[in-house]
Symmetry: D2
Subunit: 326 residues, 4 copies
Amino acid sequence: MSSEFGKNMRISIFGESHGEVIGAVIDGLPAGEEINEQELLAFMSKRAPGQANTTPRKEADIPKFVSGVYNGKTTGSPICIIIENTDMRSPDYEKLSAIPRPGHADFTAHIKYSGYADMRGGGHFSGRLTAPICAAGGIALQILKRCGIFVNAHITEIGGVSGDEMYEVVKNLSGDSVGGVIECIAAGIPPGIGGGMFGLESKMSYALFGIPGVKGVEFGSGFEGSRKKGSENNDAFCVENGNIVTKTNNHGGLLGGITTGMPLVFRIALKPTPSIALEQDSVNLQTLESVKLKIEGRHDPCIAIRAVPVAEAVCALVLLDEMVKK
Amino acid sequence: MSSEFGKNMRISIFGESHGEVIGAVIDGLPAGEEINEQELLAFMSKRAPGQANTTPRKEADIPKFVSGVYNGKTTGSPICIIIENTDMRSPDYEKLSAIPRPGHADFTAHIKYSGYADMRGGGHFSGRLTAPICAAGGIALQILKRCGIFVNAHITEIGGVSGDEMYEVVKNLSGDSVGGVIECIAAGIPPGIGGGMFGLESKMSYALFGIPGVKGVEFGSGFEGSRKKGSENNDAFCVENGNIVTKTNNHGGLLGGITTGMPLVFRIALKPTPSIALEQDSVNLQTLESVKLKIEGRHDPCIAIRAVPVAEAVCALVLLDEMVKK
Amino acid sequence: MSSEFGKNMRISIFGESHGEVIGAVIDGLPAGEEINEQELLAFMSKRAPGQANTTPRKEADIPKFVSGVYNGKTTGSPICIIIENTDMRSPDYEKLSAIPRPGHADFTAHIKYSGYADMRGGGHFSGRLTAPICAAGGIALQILKRCGIFVNAHITEIGGVSGDEMYEVVKNLSGDSVGGVIECIAAGIPPGIGGGMFGLESKMSYALFGIPGVKGVEFGSGFEGSRKKGSENNDAFCVENGNIVTKTNNHGGLLGGITTGMPLVFRIALKPTPSIALEQDSVNLQTLESVKLKIEGRHDPCIAIRAVPVAEAVCALVLLDEMVKK
Amino acid sequence: MSSEFGKNMRISIFGESHGEVIGAVIDGLPAGEEINEQELLAFMSKRAPGQANTTPRKEADIPKFVSGVYNGKTTGSPICIIIENTDMRSPDYEKLSAIPRPGHADFTAHIKYSGYADMRGGGHFSGRLTAPICAAGGIALQILKRCGIFVNAHITEIGGVSGDEMYEVVKNLSGDSVGGVIECIAAGIPPGIGGGMFGLESKMSYALFGIPGVKGVEFGSGFEGSRKKGSENNDAFCVENGNIVTKTNNHGGLLGGITTGMPLVFRIALKPTPSIALEQDSVNLQTLESVKLKIEGRHDPCIAIRAVPVAEAVCALVLLDEMVKK
């Protein structure tokens, strides 16, 4: 297992979808940082279920700081955040336990953990585990904002289309699901953050691929840049207000794994929600018999929608980890 | 700095493009593994310069094992690999030192290392540093092969086109450069490798983004999968020769960060070589004056071509790191 | 901050003495391991306050597994253990906040965390934080026992004396405190565990010095061995029941950082409890005025006594971490 | 294997006693630090063999910086240091290969590395591997000195005696060997360095136990402090020149794993050199027959003597690692 990331600041995620609680421990956050709880709840509500185009499962998702915060400020010692699981309906899933759902971790977790994993609702592999990431990242976003760094993500594609049409795609799925692409931009980062052969792209992608459903990560012009000429993709240097900047930003704010001072830009590809209401083929793990599987219950038609704040949270945590060191 | 990756097996890369030597230390490779030097040299020659469509710079690139190998077998103690830099022509670069080349780490390294970085030929950020990765990865490939695991990468796109036309693109660049996409497939991996919230995609992408020029990483159907429906992208389970497999492989061999036993498939996007013979705009770091820059010297028109064995090497090292633990 | 240890198994400790809860996250424990709760509670009660010769503070110290355990067995995902703080009497400490107690972390935490640390009752530096270590270690002890490995610690010295007289020392302190030495022995470890230049002594001492009050760690003959001749301290090899063993065990079961198969033996030196009822000299952090300080409240006369199970817990966690890798 | 230590600065040690070279990679040293080579050689000569009371084996021990240093200054990229092995006399050892030497890692390395370890002269477990630690630490000492931090170690005991008599003990060994104790003091460290539950004692002891032959580590009053009363061992706070200091230094400069600003003081216990000229009992690993073993060749009568600069080197590296983060 390795449900941790970060170096100077370690973020350790725990919990299962249908367990009692989920949460995170953040070890290494600086002392004396104020936590604005209202702002944090507002941020977390962006991820919460029950919104338009998302699963109707409702969770209060109130993060409780059980350590590391005193009089509303961080103390410098590890912060444990706990979020209760209040709306579990295990029976929806229980019957599936012997039949792995296509696109889910059911099969691989069964092999890896010899049948002992608690896979109700996806267990530790559930998208629900992104709630503590948002709680931790929400704090990081507040700290970064005070340093003049602003992180914003948004959906750029759903089912291959962009703009208002994206939401039409989501409405016409009839039990099917669809994937999407999120773009995240962080502005205000000073140049010189990151570095080493395994620089900021390495650290960022490590954390981003921990978001369930992420199957691709690209920085700047990314895959599209690989289709260009050098003369098109290189960003010329120039001077603006006494600072060296680039005229374009195909490099996405990173050269040699180190920030240039231009906005950091990355995109993540999220696969279609694997839980769909349509019939699928699977196999009984015990009998090896072929099985027709129909997944009932409540599911997001497009996990990319609720992953938007998660991308912001992860981005903020990785940036803060790198800047804490400085 | 952080020029290391791996957990159970740590790979530490050192050296600069125009320094005396470059190399790697591998700490944690199992004892008793035979190294076939002929096979290793043959593998490394795939990355070597001087091939068709690559830079004419010639380096013997003979890896020398100065520790950790005895009587042709690994001893279990750290292996230090050293490769001499034999064909350095610093004057080509020396004059550029105050003028950062677009698309290179010159500017960011200057900021981060306060002007002390040895940036001749790209310094520690040069693609030359992938030679020790290939030497280390070449050993890993031999060990994996003995376990029945085979890793193969190939170019799938250059400048957005595929097939034989790709090489036409490279021939008609007239001093410009072009990007490309590499696909890497690893077959024979048992199910159950990886895991944790930050699973094999996290570890693999961390290492892959260390290859200079990589700006995107995707697994399985990746970004294309994000444009699909769940019913199209989910891979149905079935039984084949008594094993549970999937009918398709959009998941690229990974579910929940754990191998399924299907081939591991990933693609990396490489940007166009930033060094081009065409005139570019830059800025003098000392005077902040605008400068027209024309890069002379020898350069690969498409770094993706020589990165193919590097992708195989990185893939093998990450897989072995994960399997050493088992 | 760095309140974590372990490599294959990460143990992350959180909480403050007078916060709501204290706890630990264990990431990497194997799946399918049964937890005998009765045995765990019995083990933890060895550390609990309120025993003979210890502080009268009473805490139920019931560890609650809020993740990673399902149907009484580990699931392979991170285990979060939570222990409530039920018997806090902050007023005893509150008034001291500007006056650092000699021998405590009050002064250094004040400097390091710029006055934001929650130091009520010692905060995150309190010996109370060893309760979650015992909970985590108690599970490790159960797993090791099933592998035939038994860990036992005991007091060997209090105030420089040994045997029954030790307890006389504790009874006659009149408000003062006293230090002690704990010896820990782990039997049944197979040879070949550990290794690398920074072997098992390195990993074990790293974790042991995390126990508040530990100021010395020695393996085998330790400091006493440094006063001997090689001919006295070397342990001759011989064969016993077909196995290579040593006739004596001055090496404490470790040669070259790797287990020999002989019992692992180490000792830890615990300083006298810094909280004493006698008047001490200190300084007001704000005014820099000299202050006479008298610490009231409940304190262990000898922290070594309650640290005995903590030493066993740490030993078990480090061993299991090393063996999980195998 | 794990021949690395450090967090922000990683030090990776490689090589075998009778291999071609030994060396170290330091990843994370700040850029722009001047290396005074004369001073470094003078420091390293303190460890070199061939001095009074040490083995007559002669090695030039000239560290060669093959990367990470340019124009006499650190570049910020990883520094690889290489030291040639020039005076190897393998035949002295070759015949011993099947017969483990008491007190050496021969037996455990044989088990752990399945007979593949290159154990000539102790292989990777040899005290010779402390030469690259001294080279790396020598640089750290120079950097710390420029920050006003001075590290000094000295022998305090040989064979249990101190003062001039110590050297009499060494002279009258007649083929036997003897252990010793080294004390290391680092002055000028600002308060507030270290911290976390696993603080500076944890990190320091981790690295110190990597020095071959170290079997005990204690800070401040250490084991002797465990024999005292709290009223004797606590260090009262007072004000001196406007700074809060302590009147005594039983805490060895560390409270709660964080520096107080008082000198850091630790002692390490080194066992007697295991190689002695006297006859010892061992066992043939292949035949399991009892064997009388007499070790010939050149050996230090007391490894503690040459370990003095190694203690300084390790201390400096751990301190710098912790301060780089700040």
